[in-house]
């Protein structure tokens, strides 16, 4: 079974196979150089559209059971190195002073969503209620999925952009976006923003978050 029967280039033959290949290489290069603008369209292609979020976000989870929020019951525990360990109901949180901010959202895996509007109490407001002890230097935010966690230094957590959002773009936070409560840290990559937050713990030293234990930078400042 050798190749004898196969003529090499005969009259009338054209090298089209390599042209298709090279066209794809060139096209990919042009498209890549063209930047992200061209790509918003991918998630809106037929077939794909029905299966991906239409708000520009991608869905990441590290556990197979997604916490659910019925719109009412979402006890938030604040504990650890505090004078006043407390459990706040969702209605307690809604009664606090609310912050309303618009920020670009950036994921370390290479996608971004411009001008996302978040609403909810500032984390500093919550810390004031629990009154951190002088020994507390960092704050951990745990997810109700029982797996995910991430942390901020006390100074970062108290910045006026850091909030616990219950609404996004003017509507109650969607389940996939982290309802009832999602941490928003606009000056850091998205992996700092724990979804489905149900516990805030104050610690003496900063804990290492879920992805950070798996190689991500603890310093998640946008660069």
């Amino acid at each position: 079974m050798k190749s004898q029967g196969y003529d090499m280039q005969a009259p009338g033959q054209r090298r089209i196979g390599r042209r298709i290949f090279l066209a794809l290489l060139a096209g990919g290069g042009v498209v890549a150089a063209g930047g992200a603008q061209a790509f918003g369209a991918i998630g809106r292609l037929p077939v794909i559209k029905g299966f991906v979020p239409q708000d520009g976000f991608y869905y990441y989870t590290v556990s197979s059971d997604e916490p659910t929020f019925d719109g009412n019951n979402w006890p938030l525990r604040i504990e650890g190195l505090v004078e006043n360990p407390v459990t706040l109901t969702f209605h307690d949180l809604m009664a606090l002073a609310q912050s309303d901010q618009v920020h670009d959202y950036m994921c370390v895996t290479g996608w971004a969503v411009p001008k996302v509007r978040w609403q909810g109490p500032l984390v500093s407001t919550l810390l004031d209620i629990a009154r951190p002890l002088p020994t507390a230097s960092a704050v951990s935010f745990d997810s109700a999925d029982g797996v995910y966690t991430d942390s901020l230094t006390m100074a970062e957590a108290r910045r006026p952009e850091v909030l616990l959002a219950h609404a996004k773009d003017g509507a109650p936070l969607a389940q996939d976006r982290g309802a009832a409560l999602r941490l928003v840290v606009p000056f850091m990559f998205g992996y700092k923003g724990t979804k489905w937050v149900n516990r805030i713990r104050l610690t003496a030293t900063q804990e290492i978050g879920y992805w950070e234990q798996r190689g991500y930078d603890v310093d998640a400042y946008l660069k």
């Binding site: 079974m1 050798k2 190749s3 004898q4 029967g5 196969y6 090499m8 280039q9 005969a10 009338g12 033959q13 054209r14 090298r15 089209i16 196979g17 390599r18 298709i20 290949f21 090279l22 066209a23 794809l24 290489l25 990919g28 498209v31 890549a32 150089a33 930047g35 992200a36 061209a38 790509f39 991918i42 292609l45 794909i48 299966f51 991906v52 979020p53 991608y58 869905y59 990441y60 989870t61 590290v62 556990s63 197979s64 059971d65 997604e66 950036m106 370390v108 895996t109 290479g110 996608w111 971004a112 996939d176 798996r214 190689g215 930078d217 946008l222 660069k223």
Partner: protein, 230 residues
């Protein structure tokens, strides 16, 4: 020993002798195909679970899915390269030439095939070892795999390129799989499911295909000319 003509057995129905089969792919070609296909399908499945929310929820452990995706992706390139390095490349080299060169009939076949999808009735000219749809699929796969491999390596862990580079690589990675996946689905459908074409599947498993099938679908292939040798 003089040859006796085989009179009726080749055309007889069931109950006759085994239908004649001829060589289609040699060991290196088959190994190359599967060294690519198996890790590729694992990469595709895990990739879909990283992309689509409902599959991500089903899978749950994103770290595990991600790691399988990374290593299967690496093997999708490494295994075929290994086969190329160690195998007998002569027939594969011929296949690449076949994919590259399109005769006038090939171009006519491709146009007629596309036209038939929208109700055209154009004649499909007889094809050689590969028809131009298969040639197109091979070139498309190679181009998409090139970009999937390059962009995949850029966003591989341990490397921390600037955000714009990660972002552009991710977008091109998405575009490449969105182009390639329908081609793969079409390929698997025609090779393993669609009744008129699936008898050729044995070619990539045992190396041999029914002579009658080859004569019908690839009448200009040299193996279709030779008498059945089994």
């Amino acid at each position: 020993m003089t040859s006796t003509p085989i009179s009726s057995s080749a055309t007889a129905g069931s109950g006759a002798g085994p239908e004649p089969r001829v060589d289609r792919f040699d060991a290196t070609e088959r190994l190359f195909h599967w060294a690519f296909a198996v890790p590729f399908l694992v990469t595709l499945a895990t990739g879909l679970a990283l992309y689509f929310p409902e599959l991500a929820k089903l899978a749950g452990n994103r770290e595990l899915v991600r790691d399988i995706h990374r290593f299967a992706g690496l093997f999708t390139v490494l295994f075929p390269v290994l086969v190329l390095a160690l195998g007998d490349r002569s027939n594969l080299r011929r296949d690449v030439t076949e994919v590259d060169l399109w005769s006038g009939d090939d171009r006519q076949w491709f146009r007629a095939w596309l036209w038939r999808k929208v109700g055209g009735k154009d004649r499909l000219p007889p094809q050689g070892r590969f028809n131009s749809g298969q040639k197109f699929n091979a070139a498309l796969t190679a181009g998409c795999i090139f970009w999937l491999a390059v962009t995949g390596l850029i966003i591989f862990p341990g490397i921390h390129p600037p955000f714009w580079l990660v972002s552009n690589s991710r977008n091109l990675h998405d575009l490449a799989w969105i182009i390639l996946t329908p081609a793969v689905i079409g390929h698997v459908f025609l090779a393993a499911i669609y009744p008129p074409t699936r008898p050729g599947l044995s070619g990539i498993i045992t190396g041999k295909v029914p002579l009658a099938w080859l004569r019908h679908h690839h009448p200009l292939a040299p193996e279709a000319q030779s008498p059945a040798g089994d």
